[in-house]
């Protein structure tokens, strides 16, 4: 089992890199072989990733979010699953390169930060806590997907506005579709993050210790407010897609800061990650 986990830690980023390269061909320079290989490659790698996470759970007998590395791997997996679903549902492969590149980035970070012996804490055996973490990670993954669509939206918007017609023009879905995909992902992320905040608050109340001043919680609440405002203003038609897209990118920045810097240097309450 340990050998499989060690091998998967190396093989997963390599596999995602190869899949990202295949999708790169689809986007930049269509070639028959990579075009045929991209989708089956992604599906195969996602299954391999699922096997890895299952093995991780079985091996350590706890929910696999005990370290930053494991949390990042779950985020990478969730983004890959969300994209595979979007591609299957919408028959739309032009955003694959950008999505799978993000998955590769998260999985690479996860593999680099892998610790040989993750902590075994009682908290990771609690199903309610596992539900809280699952919601948070699903929310993060959805925000990552939303930010990727926001990035593509802004690039295409700029090209169309300036009449430049270079990298993105003609290769992406229309602006309105990109915006709809972005808003869909942000909405799922917002609902999940709301659930994570509520379940986290309920769980923290039971612990009988102060938690609201924790930097991670403060950053998370600020992120929640940012997304809430962005979605509300868009729904009220006060903001255009461009402004929502920029808010989505800012939100992703806050999430990365929360997930990495805050976890490493500031938090006490969320110090288990």
């Amino acid at each position: 089992m340990t050998t499989f986990l060690d091998a998967a830690t190396i093989l997963l980023p390599v596999a995602y890199l190869l899949v990202a390269i295949a999708y790169g061909f689809v986007f930049f320079a269509p070639q028959p072989l990579p075009e045929r290989a991209a989708t089956p490659g992604l599906r195969g790698t996602v299954l391999f990733h699922l096997a890895y996470l299952t093995a991780l759970t079985y091996h350590w007998k706890q929910f696999p979010a005990a370290t930053v590395s494991q949390a990042l791997s779950i985020v990478a997996f969730a983004v890959a699953v969300v994209y595979a679903y979007v591609e299957w549902h919408g028959r739309e492969r032009s955003t694959g390169f950008w999505m799978v590149s993000l998955v590769f980035f998260f999985q690479l970070l996860s593999s680099i930060l892998t610790r040989p012996q993750p902590p075994s804490l009682e908290i990771f055996h609690n199903p309610f806590f596992a539900f809280h973490v699952s919601l948070a990670l699903l929310g993060y993954a959805s925000f990552v997907v939303g930010a990727a669509y926001a990035f593509l939206f802004l690039q295409l918007y700029r090209e169309l506005k300036a009449g430049r017609f270079s990298t993105f023009y003609g290769k992406l879905p229309p602006l309105e579709t990109l915006e709809r995909m972005m808003l869909g992902a942000l909405s799922v992320g917002f609902v999940s993050l709301t659930g994570a905040v509520i379940t986290g608050a309920v769980y923290a109340e039971r612990l009988d210790q102060p938690w609201l001043h924790d930097p991670k919680i403060l950053i998370t609440l600020a992120t929640w407010v940012l997304y809430a405002a962005a979605l509300l203003l868009r729904r009220m038609r006060r903001w255009q897609g461009r402004q929502t897209a920029m808010a989505s990118l800012a939100g992703l920045g806050a999430i990365l800061f929360s997930l990495m810097a805050v976890n490493f240097f500031f938090t006490d309450f969320h110090g288990f990650l």
Binding site: P174, L175, R237, W239
Partner: protein
Amino acid sequence: MSAPQLPGLPETSRPQEVRTDPPLLLVGTDFRCSPLEMRERVSYDSAAGEELLVHLLAGAGVAEAFLLSTCNRTEVYIHPRDEDAAYRATLDLAFLRRVPELEKPGRLYVKRNGEAARHLLAVASGLESMVLGEPEILGQVKQAAALAEAVGAEGPILRRLLRSAMSAGARSRQETGISAGAVSLGYATVELARQIFKGLEECRVLLLGAGETARSVARPLVERGARELKVANRGAERARQFQEEFPQTLLIPFEERVAAVRTAEVVVVSTGADEPVLTHRHLQEAMAARSTDPLLVVDLGVPRNVEPSAGRIGNLFLHTVDSLEVLIQRNLKLRKEEVPRVEEILDQEMGHFRAWYRGLGAEPVVARLQKQAERVRQHEVAQMLHRFPPDTHADLERLTRSLVRKILHHPSVHLRNHEGSQDASRLELVRELFHLEDDDQP
């Protein structure tokens, strides 16, 4: 006819030599060789084309004929019985009789055999078109093929060549980007709208101006299913003419144009006005009333009909003749990059065509071989049949037939598909080895 001035027949193999390509002759002129005024006179409609094909076939030199006549080219493809006679007849009947000036050097081109075949494949793929990769030519080749078939001018050679040409044309469009991207103002507008909005069928279009430019843009927009077409023009007469061509058009007074912008997704402006007919303030007010919906404004007027500073308004995409030209040039460049991939398809299709033709030469030998083998089988079975019980006769027949078929399968396939210049001697060797005499002919 002064022979030295005409394009000469290129020197190639003599008839008794082994051919890898069927005998073909192409005589034609296109936009590169002759001006529009000459091309118009040498252009054929269906009736004239039919008449020409009938006249060509009446001559002794022509076995099969095919005429392709479009606004940019007139080409006659011949499978000749007598090449020189066919050439003279084609020149005279199809070209010089109508336009004697084509006699001047460089006005006509002549290609033979493989070159002629490959040229038709390139034409069908859009490589020879004035606008590289334009899609209409494939339909025109199909129409021309239908005419040749109706007249009875097609035979096995041209029928198979046309099949290869249509396959090359279809594959080039499906497997490469040779026809991708808009290369006209109208289609460039459609392309831009499709990069902004979910679908053109959800777009309401407002045209300011009803002249020829407006029509050229309206046509692809309507063809691609634009939801609504409103036109505002300063002159009522031209607007009415526009409505006659596009009956679904809703005419509105020119003074209401700013209000109409609020409910449109695509606005195309092409008036002859010297001053902007849509100002920054007009469009800012319209955008404020539209909430957050994007707007595509295409200004095709020279001088410009839309105040350029309006391009800074958020969610408004303002494009001019210049930016559309940038888009068209980009698409043409992308099409040019696809040419090597199309050439590969042409090579493959030429390979299939040549293999078919080679197989055609081997067919009589294969047929004789199979007939002789069947005769031997029948003779041997007849001699031995009485030694076997009657209820086994049917099985014996099946067994021997199957044996003969399997033994001859590989040699037959090999003879039909063999590549190289040794076909004639190879076929001769097979005739000798198996004693395939003339009286064995099927």
